[in-house]
């Protein structure tokens, strides 16, 4: 049941002289919500970038366990699109939507790696291509309905309110049918009402068995959502455990000194 799906060991990332990640170990099991926290500049986003193939880590291993294929796949050295194909999907800390495309089209892009039509398909519009196209539209529509964005479907993405843009990033990532969903500060910049809705949404997604790894600064959100927490500071892991353990961990309190830890 609690099969680890992502296993990262000894991950190290150097930028010139700066060691942004230092020998980091982390794992996520199936169906879990895991949080990765740490002060600003701790290296959380860099961790995501390494795992998703955007940066090439200096050292370490990243393995994804594929249940369907029942085998371990090393993600090291893969291009970002290959990583996504293997089953990791992410959102970005600074929203990166396709701003001139409609909301629905943004989600449809997420279906790209699960579909096949190409030049000839586009030209001939044969039955198979049209079926696939229908499937793309239908699935995307369903995902948007689930995320609660169906009323914006044909709006241009950049005209959406901020909170809705963040949710759209999640919808887009879900469309790739990820084994593990990576969320980089999904609540950043949201108002309290939007944050509550987001918590509900994440819980709903998780209840369907989706494994999630999330970065977040909002402690209340982290404590209420996650089953396990990893804490980073200066590129190193300084603690891991359940929310309860983390709350009382002296190293964590020290790292966050001056920041609100208690929920």
């Amino acid at each position: 049941m609690h099969q680890p799906i992502l296993q990262v060991a000894g991950l190290t990332m150097d930028f010139g002289g700066i060691r942004a990640l230092n020998n980091l170990d982390l794992d996520v099991s199936e169906g879990e919500i895991v949080a990765l926290i740490g002060p600003n500049g701790a290296g959380k986003t860099t961790f995501f970038n390494c795992v998703t193939g955007i940066y090439k880590p200096t050292k370490g291993s990243i393995d994804l366990f594929h249940k369907k294929k029942n085998r371990q796949i090393s993600l090291l050295g893969m291009k970002p699109n290959q990583v996504t194909e293997q089953g990791l999907a992410r959102t970005f800390q600074n929203i990166r939507l396709f701003s001139q495309m409609t909301v629905l089209e943004n989600v449809m892009i997420g279906r790209h790696c699960r579909t096949k039509a190409f030049i000839l398909g586009a030209l001939l519009r044969d039955k198979k291509t049209m079926q696939e196209e229908d499937e793309i539209i239908q699935t995307s529509h369903e995902i948007l309905t689930k995320i609660g964005l169906q009323r914006y479907e044909n709006e241009i993405a950049k005209n959406l309110p901020y909170g809705a843009q963040r949710r759209l990033e999640i919808a887009r990532a879900l469309a790739t049918e990820p084994v593990l969903l990576l969320l980089d500060e999904p609540a950043a910049g949201m108002n309290p009402q939007e944050t509550i809705e987001l918590v509900n949404l994440i819980q709903e997604i998780a209840s369907e068995g989706q494994s999630i790894l999330l970065i977040e600064h909002d402690m209340k959100l982290v404590m209420s959502l996650s089953e396990r927490i990893f804490v980073m500071d200066y590129g190193k892991k300084i603690a891991q455990g359940t929310p309860e353990e983390i709350r009382n961990n002296p190293a964590v309190i020290k790292a966050y000194l001056g920041e609100e830890v208690d929920a």
């Binding site: 930028f15 986003t45 970038n49 955007i54 940066y55 970005f92």
Partner: protein, 300 residues
């Protein structure tokens, strides 16, 4: 051996001219991240302006030295004014637009200026008066090193030294460096970024104007199209050295000038431009950061 030295000096003076133009590319790129495609045209306008003024002064019977100085001054003043105006019209409104929009605008500006000069002046090649006399003291070595090669080298060296002092030690130079590192931060600490950008365009254009005058007098003819090829080559030099880096631009220019000179001298002159373009393509593909440039990683 004489032939070698001849090629060496012609390569160096070629490189010096490229450097004068390449600096404008590199400085503008360093500050606003734009390939100022119209920069070659500024150089061409400098050559035309100095041509017009020099001819008038010759007719009026001015002494040679006065002609050089006044024509050069006029070229600098007008090229700088064009550079300043172009920035205000074609680039400033696009400061927050996608990078490619500004580049397209720059290409448009380049076409516009070329054809503006074509229509206002002529499409023919104009014979450019020889402004730089053959010095008597150069006589013994004149068959190897021409006087104008020498003048080009000396003038360029002086200009480079002035530029270095300006950028290293003056207030405006410091502000320019700050702006090129981080425009937002520079603005926050009270630097008038718009002014710095204008100053950059003015300096770059002035250098190009000097280059324009020198090269026109050296080669002896100009037309509206000279800016295009010279611009591309200077850009090649800037990229070769590492675009954004001022010493890089000079280094790249000298390397390009020398290689061109030796390649045409020892191999064949038919493919002179093919050679420069191929070099450009190869550097961009294999080492886009150039010799002295920094590799830029995109933060996500």
């Amino acid at each position: 051996m004489d032939y070698f030295i001849e090629l060496l000096f012609s390569g160096l003076s070629r490189g010096a001219i490229y450097a004068l133009i390449a600096l404008g590319y590199t400085m503008v790129y360093g500050i606003i991240g734009l390939i100022n495609f119209a920069h070659g045209e500024i150089y061409m306008i400098g050559a035309f302006t100095s041509f017009i003024i020099a001819t008038i002064l010759t007719i009026l019977g001015f002494p040679a030295l006065a002609i050089i100085v006044l024509a050069g001054l006029a070229a600098v003043i007008w090229s700088a004014s064009y550079g300043y105006t172009i920035e205000k019209i074609a680039y400033k409104p696009l400061r927050h637009a996608p990078r490619l929009s500004a580049l397209i605008s720059a290409i448009g500006m380049s076409m516009f200026l070329q054809n503006y000069v074509l229509l206002a002046q002529t499409s023919d090649f104009l014979p450019f008066p020889q402004l730089i006399p053959d010095f008597a003291f150069m006589e013994p070595i004149a068959h190897i090193v021409g006087s104008s090669d020498m003048v080009i080298l000396v003038v360029t060296t002086v200009v480079m030294i002035c530029l270095t002092i300006l950028i290293k030690y003056t207030r405006i130079g410091k502000a320019m460096r700050a702006t090129s590192q981080d425009r937002t931060m520079a603005m926050l600490v009270g630097i008038n970024v718009n002014r710095i950008i204008s100053v950059t365009f003015i300096i770059g254009s002035s250098l190009a104007a000097i280059g324009g005058m020198l090269v026109a007098s050296h080669i002896g003819q100009i037309n509206f199209y000279i800016g295009f090829i010279a611009g591309i080559k200077a850009f090649t030099a800037a990229v070769l050295g590492g675009i954004g880096s001022i010493p890089g631009a000079v280094l790249g220019s000298v390397v390009l000038g020398l290689t061109e000179s030796f390649a045409t001298g020892y191999i064949s002159s038919d493919y002179e431009d093919v050679f420069a373009f191929s070099l450009l393509v190869l550097i961009l593909i294999f080492k886009p950061s150039g010799i002295l440039g920094k590799v830029d990683t995109q933060k996500v």
